[in-house]
Structure formats: structure tokens, C-alpha cells
């Protein structure tokens, strides 16, 4: 028990320590930043898998930082949802750190890239494991600051413009979140999330909580790019280097936006029906607006960024239904979207690496020259469009089924419509980029190096076998414990207090 509790801080310590070591020594020793980056992510992935088993046995683990017992000290909490998110984040981070070895050779100063990358990773892991609301804000800012710098990594005109826009919007979001935390602290006089929940439950709904909820929706809405707050995403995500686009779209908006939103609304404040209907509306709006804006795009990465908005809408819609089936669908879609959207961004990076263009009209017939990239893009496209037997189909099916089951036929129709439009838009991508006749100027194009191919194949195989996660035995281990945490709502307090 003690040993397994000590696993929790490792998720923050390992990437943070490696990031500092790289910052100090990475410039002098060739190959050191890459090696450290891959080593750190491999360790994190292994620990996440171990903690999956540990949480299955113990349910909830709480680590008190500096041996100060919560609610006085800072608590790090590991429960089903945490472990689910950690596995997702660290799986993607591992694939990206391997991919970046070759991809980042075109930039100078790889050590800066790995330093910032691991800093961002430690921020994300910190947001996920923390049980203290101010600590959540601090980790949120660590991850955001690293991501601003990474978006501006190329220091070209577009990248700087996008990074500035992103930095201002995201800082604004953080300010709203901080404001809400201050109000919540003044109302409850505690910062521990379990403790806040315990104090809020008897007080019920009142004006302070209303204000706090509005501020949290604005703040985390900005972080997660829900539709009225989405304007920064289509600029910021495509401007970053491809591995970082994959990281931002794949996991950053989910761990900073969706995860924090779910944790605070479902476990801490309590999920009022009014809030649920607001989320459902925002989710459906994001779903439709995102996909409509995506269809007209000709820039490969920009198209993918708009689809991220749309898929985030599905996740929010699923989770805000509040039924166990809806939450299962939402969380499963969160995992699937991380996998196939990262894969698509890495594919776009591979095309960019080989041909030097992101414009779909310039491409054509690339599948002949780049078989691995072509095949993995096809798998990811079919997966995001929801074609069986790929993983995207199962999660979308669950979400739509849960929507119908809870009687929201309008939203179910919109979900189906958005799925059809997604299929149309990815058919366009496949047709223009990978199928059709090969242009003469691409005759010399070569497939990307082996280290870039491996992560593509890894993620594509997760896409193909993703449906396996729904088989009861596997589901019990990975998804069900996460669903239980969210659907039990404010029962979170009791379980955390008991685990102390």
C-alpha cells in the first residue's frame, strides 16, 4: 500500500527532472535529449500500466505531499479516472517522443524541444493527479506556458502570430479559473477538492456557486476550445511542429479542459441539471460548427484542428448526459480521439516531412510512394469518421445510443449528421492527398524514416483493435473504474477521505 502510494508523485517528478537534466546537459551531448525524452516517456507509460493494476486492487490511493495530511496539505489522488487519463496521455507522449527524434532534425536546438515537451507533460500529469484545486491551477499554468513556447517553436511569422493569440486567450482562461478558485475558497475556506465537495453538498445551490460555475465554464471552455471559445485553436494547433500539434490536439485540450471540467463539475461542485443542459448544448454546437468549418479547409493540419473542435463536442455531449452509458461513451471517445487525432497529425507531419507542403490541392497519389503513411491515414480517417470495426465507431455508437436512450432525439440526430459530414471531409482528404494519380513533381518522394513509421504503426494498431477495450474483462480494468468515479458524483469525497 505504501509502496504503491509512492508511485503517484513519480508522474510529476520523472518528466520534471528529465526536463531540467536536458536543459542543463542536452546542449553539449549529442543524442542525449532524444534518449532522455524517450526514456522518460517509456518509464511513465510503464508506471501508468502498473498503476492500472494497483488502482484495480485499491480503488483510491492518496499521497500527502510533505506528509501534511489533507485537508491541510496538498493531496495527490489516484482513482479510476486519473489512471485512465494517465494511460491515455502517456501512451500518446511515448509515441510522439519517438516520432520527434527524426522529425525535429529539421529544426535547430532539439534540446529545447525536449525540455519544453517534458515540462508540458509534467504539467498535464500534474493536473490529472492533483487533488488540490490551487495546485491544479499551478500545473495548468505550467502546461500552458510550455505549450505557448512550443507553438512558437519555429519562430516564423504564422507561428508567432498564432502563439500570441493562443497565449492571450489561454491566459484569459486561466484568469477566469483563478477567479473561480478564489471565490470557491472564500466560500468554503479550503482548497482540497474532496473537502470542498463535502462542504458544498449541504449548502446546495446559491448565487456564489452560480458565479463560480459560470467562471469555470468560461475558463475551462477556453482551455478545451468549446465552440464560443474556440477561435484560438485552428490557428495554434496547425502552427506548431507536427509532434506538438498531435500533443496539443490529442491530449492537452483533454487533460486541461475536459478532464478538469469533469472532475470539478461532476465530483466537486455537483452536476446540476441546468449545467448538464448547458454542456449538452455547447457539445452539440461544437460538434456541428467544428465539422462545418472543417469541410471547406484545404490546409491539411487546419482541417484536422477544426475536427478536434467537433470531436471535443462529442466527448462533452456524451459525458454531460450523466448516465453511465453516456459517460462510458464520452470517456471511450476521449481515448479514441487522442489516438486517432494524434495519428492524423503525425501523418500530416510525415507528408510535410516528405513533400514540404500542407496544401491538399498540391498533393495527390502519395499512397503509392508512402505506403505506411497512406495506410495509417486511411485507418485513422475511417476511425474518426466512425466506420466499423475501427475504435471510433464503437465510441460514437455508444454516445448516440446513450443520447437516444435518455430521450434527446435532436442531439442524437445532430451527432449522426456530424459523423456523416466528418466522413465526407475525410474522404476529401484521402482522395486529394493519398489516392488518385501521382503528380510528376512527387516522383522523388520517399517514405519517412523507420523511427517515424513505428509510432504511426503503433497508433494505427491501437485504432484497429480499440474495440477490444469494450470486452467486459478489459473494460472492467480500464474504462469501468473511470466511469464509476464520474457517475458516483460527490461520492468522491467519501472515497478520498477513506483512503487517507
Amino acid at each position: 500500500m505504501i509502496l504503491s502510494t509512492n508511485l503517484i508523485p513519480l508522474f510529476i517528478i520523472i518528466p520534471l527532472a528529465c526536463s531540467f537534466v536536458i536543459a542543463i546537459a542536452g546542449k553539449r551531448i549529442k543524442g542525449f535529449p532524444e534518449a532522455m525524452g524517450v526514456l522518460a516517456t517509456v518509464c511513465l507509460l510503464a508506471i501508468s500500466c502498473i498503476s492500472l493494476k494497483v488502482v484495480h486492487v485499491h480503488q483510491v490511493l492518496v499521497y500527502s505531499v510533505g506528509a501534511w495530511k489533507p485537508p491541510v496539505g496538498i493531496a495527490l489522488v489516484m482513482d479510476g479516472l486519473t489512471v485512465f487519463m494517465l494511460c491515455t496521455v502517456n501512451l500518446i507522449a511515448f509515441a510522439i517522443s519517438v516520432y520527434a527524434i527524426d522529425y525535429m532534425r529539421r529544426y535547430t536546438a532539439q534540446w529545447k524541444f525536449y525540455t519544453l515537451f517534458l515540462l508540458m507533460l509534467s504539467g498535464m500529469n500534474g493536473v490529472i493527479v492533483t487533488g488540490d484545486i490551487f495546485n491544479l491551477y499551478v500545473f495548468l499554468e505550467i502546461a500552458s506556458l510550455a505549450s505557448f513556447a512550443l507553438v512558437a517553436f519555429g519562430t516564423e511569422r504564422h507561428e508567432l502570430e498564432a502563439a500570441f493569440k493562443y497565449a492571450v486567450m489561454s491566459t484569459l482562461g486561466s484568469l477566469f479559473i483563478l477567479f473561480a478558485i478564489v471565490l470557491l475558497y472564500s466560500f468554503t475556506s479550503t482548497l482540497n477538492m474532496a473537502d470542498i465537495a463535502a462542504i458544498l453538498v449541504p449548502k446546495g445551490k446559491n448565487n456564489v456557486i452560480l458565479m463560480v460555475m459560470v467562471l469555470f465554464i468560461m475558463g475551462f471552455g477556453l482551455k478545451a476550445a468549446l465552440v464560443p471559445f474556440h477561435a484560438w485553436l485552428p490557428d495554434a494547433h496547425p502552427s506548431a511542429p507536427a509532434p506538438i500539434s498531435a500533443m496539443l490536439s490529442g491530449v492537452l485540450i483533454k487533460s486541461l479542459g475536459i478532464y478538469a471540467l469533469c472532475r470539478i463539475f461532476l465530483n466537486v461542485i455537483g452536476f446540476f441539471p441546468m449545467v448538464a443542459s448547458i454542456f449538452m448544448f455547447l457539445g452539440a454546437l461544437s460538434m456541428i460548427v467544428g465539422v462545418l468549418l472543417a469541410i471547406g479547409q484545404w490546409d491539411f493540419k487546419r482541417l484536422l484542428a477544426y475536427h478536434s473542435i467537433s470531436q471535443i463536442g462529442y466527448i462533452v455531449l456524451g459525458i454531460s448526459l450523466g448516465t453511465p452509458l453516456g459517460i462510458l461513451g464520452g470517456l471511450f471517445h476521449l481515448f479514441n480521439h487522442s489516438v486517432f487525432k494524434s495519428l492524423l497529425f503525425l501523418d500530416s507531419g510525415a507528408v510535410d516531412y516528405a513533400t514540404g507542403t500542407r496544401d491538399l490541392q498540391q498533393m495527390g497519389g502519395l499512397a503509392k510512394k508512402m505506403p505506411v503513411t497512406g495506410a495509417t491515414s486511411f485507418i485513422a480517417s475511417m476511425s474518426i469518421a466512425g466506420i466499423p470495426p475501427f475504435n471510433g465507431f464503437w465510441s460514437k455508437f455508444l454516445i448516440i445510443f446513450a443520447t437516444v436512450q435518455s430521450g434527446h432525439y435532436g442531439y442524437a440526430f445532430l451527432a449522426v449528421l456530424a459523423s456523416v459530414l466528418t466522413l465526407a471531409s475525410f474522404t476529401k482528404v484521402m482522395k486529394y492527398a493519398f489516392w488518385g494519380t501521382l503528380r510528376d513533381k512527387w516522383n522523388g518522394v520517399k517514405e519517412v524514416p523507420i523511427l517515424m513509421k513505428l509510432p504511426l504503426i503503433l497508433l494505427a494498431s491501437v485504432c484497429v483493435i480499440g474495440g477490444v477495450l469494450l470486452i467486459p474483462v478489459v473494460r472492467e480494468l480500464f474504462l469501468n473504474s473511470a466511469v464509476r468515479v464520474l457517475s458516483e458524483g460527490s461520492h468522491y469525497t467519501a472515497t478520498v477521505m477513506k483512503a487517507l
Partner: protein
């Protein structure tokens, strides 16, 4: 009343971020909003006629201001500082590339 003034300050910062065209003025807007939130945090902790929270052997623990927000605000100020540094760094690089601070002229991304 003083809480209301704090909100006004926050709104002023927001207005500055949303309406101004000069990048430097936008950054100043971010800083103003940040200070408004920090100020609000300190105000929340204040007690009327409160004294500094220092333990002395014979002092009783009455009417002290809340310590915790003061510690938290320090963290938040440091975060604000690093955000500001990054924003100004970006602004300098933008000026190098575009030779202007006007955001209406820095508009290559759209769609």
C-alpha cells in the same frame, strides 16, 4: 464596495484585451486583469482591524488575517510574471518579423 472596485479593475483589463489594437496594450490588459484577481484574493483574506498572522508566545489567535491566500498570491504573481515575460518575448519577435505592433496588420491566419 471595495470588491466591486476590484471587479471594475478586472473588467477594465478585459476591455483592454478585447478592444485595443496594439500588442503592448493587450499585454498591459492581461497584467491589469491579473492584478485584479490577485487583489481580490488578498481582499478575501482580510479581516476588519485584523493584524499580521505572526505567532508570539503571549498573543492570542484572534482577529488575524487569513495567511493562506497571501502564500498563494505569491505563487500566482510568479506565474503572472512568467506569462508576461513570455508574452513580451513573443511581442518582440513579432515586431522583428512584421515591423508593427498593430494586430489589424498582423493577420495572415484566417479561415
Amino acid at each position: 464596495m471595495i470588491y466591486f472596485l476590484c471587479l471594475v479593475l478586472f473588467a477594465l483589463g478585459l476591455f483592454c484585451i478585447l478592444r485595443k489594437r496594439n500588442i503592448i496594450k493587450i499585454i498591459i490588459g492581461v497584467i491589469i486583469s491579473e492584478y485584479a484577481v490577485n487583489l481580490f484574493f488578498i481582499l478575501v483574506a482580510y479581516r476588519m482591524q485584523g493584524r499580521a498572522p505572526i505567532y508570539a508566545p503571549n498573543a492570542s489567535i484572534v482577529n488575524m488575517v487569513d495567511v493562506l491566500p497571501q502564500a498563494l498570491v505569491l505563487t500566482s504573481i510568479i506565474i503572472g510574471l512568467s506569462t508576461t515575460i513570455l508574452l513580451i518575448g513573443l511581442a518582440m519577435k513579432i515586431y522583428e518579423k512584421y515591423h508593427t505592433f498593430d494586430i489589424t496588420k498582423i493577420k495572415e491566419l484566417k479561415g
